[in-house]
């Protein structure tokens, strides 16, 4: 068990290293240096600047320095565009915001999606079932970048109930719409997965046995059916997490929440490569670690997998 967990975490190391190398190589492919602009400094100054930032070294030494700095000091270096601000400052500022509404969305998607799917399966072929299927198909073609503007049009422009953007230190009216926009499509997928898996479980022999023993339907569902039902849902949580991290790019841009996605998009426009790389590596590492934890949980919960 312990060995399995250690092994699983060790296998994330090459992934994260390759992520760092890919981003570094992409950045090196970019034309121009960070100091090239309308006013080129004199060559001596340029040489000094390059020496200061280590840009006069060959590329593999630069890469080595960059990667070791991140691993041992958690230092992503200075931003190319925002003078006097390091990538770390921007991450410190943006990440908590993204984390707060991201975790809420994750909770909402699961706490609404799983019960909805279970009810749909238990009340198979009733209006609840049809409604759940309808919603989940609809959500498949209404991703967060369409949900978000529609929500703003309805709740801000027409009804004037909620503010159309801003963060306001996480006051709940500002959090509601980002959470709905981010969680809806994942909620629908989780509901559909739960429904399908629960239907299969409810038709299996051990459930029939449990019913034949005369157990109440509550006991059958919560003691016997719940665990095998949730296994396929659990394996979807990794991809759902990735999707939500990606979705935060849209949410931050549309709702101007000041989260990390907003900085990422701005960085892509202003070609702030060090900021782009820093955010990619950080969020990439977080998602890789999260899917590892999900994998381990899955192995613990699934009796068919021997550790």
């Amino acid at each position: 068990m312990f060995l399995f967990i250690v092994k699983r975490f060790a296998s994330t190391i090459p992934t994260i290293l390759i992520l760092m190398i890919i981003s570094f190589v992409l950045m090196r492919l970019a034309p121009g240096s960070p100091f090239s602009g309308e006013k080129m400094p004199p060559p001596e100054v340029l040489a000094n600047l390059e020496a200061k930032y280590g840009l006069d070294q060959p590329w593999f030494i630069q890469m080595w320095r960059y990667i070791t700095k991140i691993i041992f000091h958690f230092d992503f270096g200075p931003s190319f565009v925002y003078k006097d601000i390091s990538v770390n400052d921007i991450i410190d500022q943006g990440l908590p915001i993204t984390f707060i509404y991201g975790s809420w969305s994750f909770l909402v998607a699961n706490l609404v999606g799983i019960p909805l799917g279970m009810i749909a399966a238990i009340r198979h072929n009733t209006w609840i079932d049809y409604m759940a299927i309808g919603v989940s198909i609809g959500a498949a073609v209404l991703p967060n970048f369409i949900m978000a503007p529609i929500l703003i049009i309805i709740f801000t422009l027409w009804l004037d109930w909620l503010p159309g953007g801003g963060w306001n230190n996480g006051a709940w009216p500002n959090v509601i719409m980002p959470v709905i926009a981010l969680s809806t499509s994942y909620m629908a997928i989780i509901a559909r997965l739960t429904r399908g898996s629960m239907l299969e479980v409810l038709n299996s022999n051990f459930i029939r046995t449990a019913k034949a023993k005369g157990l109440s339907s509550t006991t059958v569902i919560f003691r016997h059916a719940l665990r095998p039902t949730l296994l396929p849902v659990l394996s979807y949580l990794g991809p759902a997490f990735v999707g939500m991290v990606t979705g935060s790019l849209v949410i931050d841009s549309i709702f101007v929440t000041g989260g990390i996605g907003q900085f990422f998009i701005q960085a892509a426009f202003s070609r702030d490569y060090s900021l782009l790389m820093g955010i990619t590596i950080l969020l990439g590492a977080v998602t890789v670690l999260f899917s590892t934890i999900v994998d381990i949980l899955y192995a613990v919960l699934d009796p068919k997998i021997k550790l």
Binding site: T12, P14, T15, I18, L19, I22, S23, L26, M27, L29, A30, A140, V141, L142, P143, F145, I146, P149, I150, I152, I153, L157, V242, V245, T246, L249, V250, S253, F264, I265, A267, A268, F269, R271, Y273, L276, M277, I279, T280, L283, G284, T287, V288, S291
Partner: protein, 309 residues
């Protein structure tokens, strides 16, 4: 008695000579029959074909081109830019006075093309990668699939955005980058199938005849993977279109004056508050209908080609 026998014999000969040989049906003919029975999928094919025809030939019936500005309507979209037949703006105009009918068709062209080209790029890489890994086996297989595992766990959207920022926001870069993210799943599926195929008797026969590995892969392995390839391609197209729309929505994908579904929806959503609902409505309708059709076609093809389920 003899006469009777003779009569009987002649009758038999006649019957036999009239009966057509029972034709064998191939997997593909079977699948076509099953697919045609699936009403949702069949209707989706028709709608999507109409949409594609409209996207290709529509610009010839359109009065305006997608980048032309109607100076009489610029900045006046709310009052006079609504959809009308008389002035040739069938879907109305956008806030810059450009014809939305032409722009929507142009966006449809780009979006469908991204889905198609991206899928072709992804499937070809995945098909060869998976077939080679599965057929070679052993250490080569291990290394190749380990690379796939590692690449799969990297959040692709961030890498796409970095690539677009670094390599420039051109349409060709977009096609290649979008294609380059989808091939890993395909490689995994194909590898699994190849492992099953390579132990079949016909591969053994080919080997004993001295056919080279390369020829076995291209002539015997890959044709037998076509079913799964078609299924996977059809499932991948809508997700690639979604990816492209996502990127274009953020303003990093297709650049003006070209446009795509995502970019049009972004513009429309931004103009919504100025009372021009058609600018969001028409692109959104095309997007939703197009994606629904593609999803139904994918489901239909899966059911038709994979009778086990």
């Amino acid at each position: 008695m003899i006469a009777l026998n003779k009569q009987k014999r002649e009758k038999t000969v006649e019957i036999l000579s009239n009966v057509d040989l029972v034709k064998g049906r191939s997997l593909w003919q079977d699948a076509a029959v099953r697919f045609r029975k699936n009403k949702a999928a069949f209707v989706s094919v028709i709608i999507l074909a109409l949409m594609a025809l409209l996207a290709v030939f529509g610009p010839y019936i359109s009065v305006w081109s997608y980048e032309e500005i109607d100076w009489g309507l610029i900045g006046d979209a709310k009052a006079n830019g609504q959809p009308s037949i008389e002035n040739g703006h069938y879907f109305g105009v956008d806030n810059l006075g450009r014809d939305l009918f032409a722009r929507t068709l142009q966006g449809t062209q780009i979006s469908l093309m991204v889905g198609l080209i991206g899928a072709v790029v992804a499937v070809s890489i995945g098909l060869f990668w998976g077939a080679i890994a599965g057929y070679a086996g052993g250490r080569v297989d291990n290394i190749m699939m380990r690379i796939v595992d590692i690449l799969m766990s990297i959040p692709s959207m961030f890498v796409i955005i970095i690539a677009l920022a670094v390599l420039g926001k051109s349409i060709i870069v977009l096609f290649i980058v979008i294609g380059a993210i989808g091939w890993m799943d395909m490689a995994r599926i194909v590898r699994g199938q190849t492992l099953a195929i390579k132990n079949k008797e016909y591969i053994e026969a080919a080997k004993s005849l001295g056919v080279s590995d390369q020829t076995i892969i291209t002539r015997h392995v890959i044709p037998n993977l076509m079913g799964i390839t078609v299924i996977y391609t059809s499932i991948m197209v809508p997700s690639l279109i979604l990816t492209e729309s996502f990127i274009s929505f953020l303003g990093l994908g297709i650049q003006e004056p070209l446009t795509s579904w995502g970019a049009l929806i972004n513009e429309g959503a931004g103009q919504m508050q100025y009372g021009v609902p058609w600018q969001l409505g028409f692109p959104l309708a095309f997007f939703v209908v197009g994606l629904y059709c593609l999803i139904f076609i994918g489901d239909g093809l899966r059911d038709a080609l994979d009778p086990k389920d």
